[in-house]
């Protein structure tokens, strides 16, 4: 499956956006064995990337627009019809 793979360049760009989104965290520690998240955080983190409220809102708005595009169209009907048999 290729759907999840990302180019290194895009990955770097996305990392910046994540840090922006999570800027109010006091620190971004490495965790979870850190996987592909090696390096870059210290230098790139902090104030340099901190976005002003308005930028964040704009970013959120563009995300919501994107979500709105993929959201199941007939939400009411769809949610009503989503019935499962109980499992474990």
């Amino acid at each position: 499956m290729k759907v999840h793979s990302r180019s290194p360049r895009r990955e770097a760009k996305e990392k910046l956006r994540f840090l922006g989104a999570a800027e109010s965290q006091q620190q971004q520690k490495k965790g979870g064995g850190d996987g592909g998240d090696d390096g870059g955080e210290k230098g790139a983190g902090g104030k340099k990337l901190a976005k002003k409220g308005e930028d964040l809102k704009e970013e959120m708005d563009s995300l919501i627009d994107e979500i709105d595009e993929v959201l199941e169209e007939n939400a009411e009907e769809f949610v009503k019809n989503y019935v499962q048999r109980g499992g474990q």
Binding site: M1, V3, H4, S5, R6, E11, K13, E14, K15, L16, R17, F18, A21, A22, S24, Q25, Q27, K29, K30, G31, G32, G33, D34, G35, G36, D37, M60, D61, L63, I64, E66, I67, D68, V70, L71, E72, A75, E76, F78, V79, N81, Y82, V83, Q84, R85, G86, G87, Q88
Partner: protein, 494 residues
């Protein structure tokens, strides 16, 4: 000294077929599971002889009928994969049980590999469905109409630790860990108090403290005593209280911290009474409080918030690791645990890139603000569901992940590899290796055995009652000197 916490998860997925009025979950599940094709493993039986789901950890056998399908049905419902996993139909849901792993990071990799395997088979299944219909799969735990399906964790435990001790020291941890392991849910169900949004998908469904059931009157601590290993030495703690998580970081914390607390219990390092007066009520009260500040009544008469109770466990964990050698991952877990609890105390929204219930809540709140809708809106309910959608282009969690808005713990390459290959440090390596090498001669598989049908000879069953034996280190030379299953069996005997 605590035994290694070999672990795994079993995820039951929600399934539906859009635009199909005659949707039948069971036949859809059979189609789905059989749409996943691995060349060598299509006709292998799941070995039900090794199962005993009605043994109770409190020391008795429950009356009931054990399920054993006929051979044809068995093959249609069960796929044992070369990565060591079991992919199968459980009741009316597809289920993926990942192979045994030894640490939380590997657990994330293999649970995520399961999502991709289910998604790949979903796409293949859709090719044979009538035009205009589409199978959809959700990694969640509820249809929000009172029907729940589980995501279970399993942890290997030392049988010398009494079940009573486990229950006593684990209950407060299970009631409170949802503050960082919940997958989030809009509204409530199963006759729970109304609420706009809650931390856990599952909390509304727990009706008793300790029991064997998993489908009705669900208990916070399940007593199933089916170790799938040497029962003189081991228990398998079967955890049914968790949510199906999308966030890698959430999965990592959930399994890593639970394994750590279980090791502490085995070593007698949980030495405080943190009991809630009414755990069943407490788990719902905590789930229904998105501020994470509500204080709940303890047995002692005091009131404590979930964060405060978790801090007590954290403090005991710090003392525990100070006096012994622990894996680097455990140290990372403790650091993150404290950071997460601090953030939850200040403002849970700080974790909107890390913890499932908060990621989802932030997304929904952003949507409500932009669209001017409220918690009762069908679109909000749709967001709640679609967060768990396995389609990479439509699943909201995956969209956030692709945009780099959620914290990752593992890499795509590691997940892709785990779709095909087992972990190397447990018996899953032997299971997967046998399937890959001798698939056509494998007759049946269970977690603790694999049997071979070679020519006209009687079936030969190899037992694997030690979860850590059968690792690459143990069996690579054996594999290399056994080009055929017959030689493998001969070499095992000599």
């Amino acid at each position: 000294m605590a035994i290694p916490k070999v672990m795994g998860t079993e995820i039951e997925y929600g399934i539906t077929v859009k635009n199909d009025r005659d949707f039948d979950p069971i036949s859809s599940c059979v189609l789905l599971v059989n749409s996943y094709r691995e060349e060598s493993t299509t006709k292998i039986l799941w070995d039900y002889d090794q199962e005993n789901p009605l043994a109770d950890a409190r020391g008795f056998q429950v009356e009931g009928e054990k399920y054993t399908p006929n051979q044809q049905e068995n093959i249609a419902r069960n796929k044992t994969l070369a990565n060591g996993a079991r992919y199968y139909v459980d009741h009316a849901h597809p289920e993926y049980s990942c192979p045994e792993v030894t640490n939380a990071r590997d657990l994330v990799i293999h649970e995520k590999a399961g999502e991709r395997i289910v998604e790949q088979s979903r796409r293949d299944a859709n090719r044979v469905l009538p035009p205009g219909t589409q199978m959809l799969i959700y990694k969640n735990n509820s249809d929000r109409k009172g029907n729940s399906y589980g995501s279970h964790e399993n942890y290997l435990m030392d049988r010398r630790t009494s079940f009573k001790q486990i229950v006593e020291h684990l209950m407060p941890f299970f009631v409170t860990r949802q503050i960082y392991s919940g997958a989030g849910k809009v509204g409530s169900e199963n006759r729970a108090h109304p609420c706009e949004y809650q931390l856990s998908q599952r909390a509304d469904f727990f009706e008793t403290e300790v029991a064997l059931d998993t489908m009705v009157k669900r208990p916070i601590i399940n007593t199933r005593d089916e170790p799938h290993a040497d029962r003189e030495k081991y228990r398998r703690l079967h955890v049914i209280v968790g949510d199906a998580n999308m966030s890698e970081f959430t999965i990592w914390l959930r399994n890593g911290l639970t394994a750590l607390v279980l090791a502490m219990i085995e070593d007698g390092a949980v030495d405080r009474d943190l009991s809630f007066r009414d755990p069943v009520r407490a788990i719902k009260e905590i789930s229904h409080d998105a501020s994470c500040r509500r204080e709940v009544e303890m047995q002692s008469g005091r009131r404590r918030s979930a964060v405060q109770v978790q801090r007590e466990y954290l403090e005991m964990a710090r003392r525990y690791v100070a006096t012994r050698e622990v894996a680097a991952e455990v140290k990372d877990l403790i650091v993150e645990w404290e950071r997460v609890l601090d953030a939850l105390e200040r403002d849970p929204m700080e974790l909107r890139g890390e913890i499932d219930w908060i990621i989802k809540r932030a997304l929904i709140e952003g949507f409500m603000e932009r669209k001017g809708v409220d918690w009762g809106s069908p679109q909000v309910q749709m967001l709640d569901l679609q967060y768990h959608d396995l389609r990479p282009d439509k699943g909201l969690y995956y969209i956030l992940e692709r945009q780099g808005r959620v914290r990752r713990v593992v890499t795509d390459e590691e997940i892709e590899r785990a779709v095909l290959y087992p972990p190397e440090d447990t018996r899953a390596y032997f299971r997967g290796g046998c399937l890959r090498r001798y698939g056509t001669q494998v007759f049946g598989v269970n977690w603790d055995s694999i049997s071979f049908g070679i020519g006209d000879e009687p079936i030969k069953r190899v037992m694997m009652i030690e979860p850590l034996k059968g690792s690459k280190q143990h069996v690579e030379a054996l594999f290399n000197s056994s080009p055929t299953a017959a030689e493998l069996v001969r070499n095992l005997r000599s």
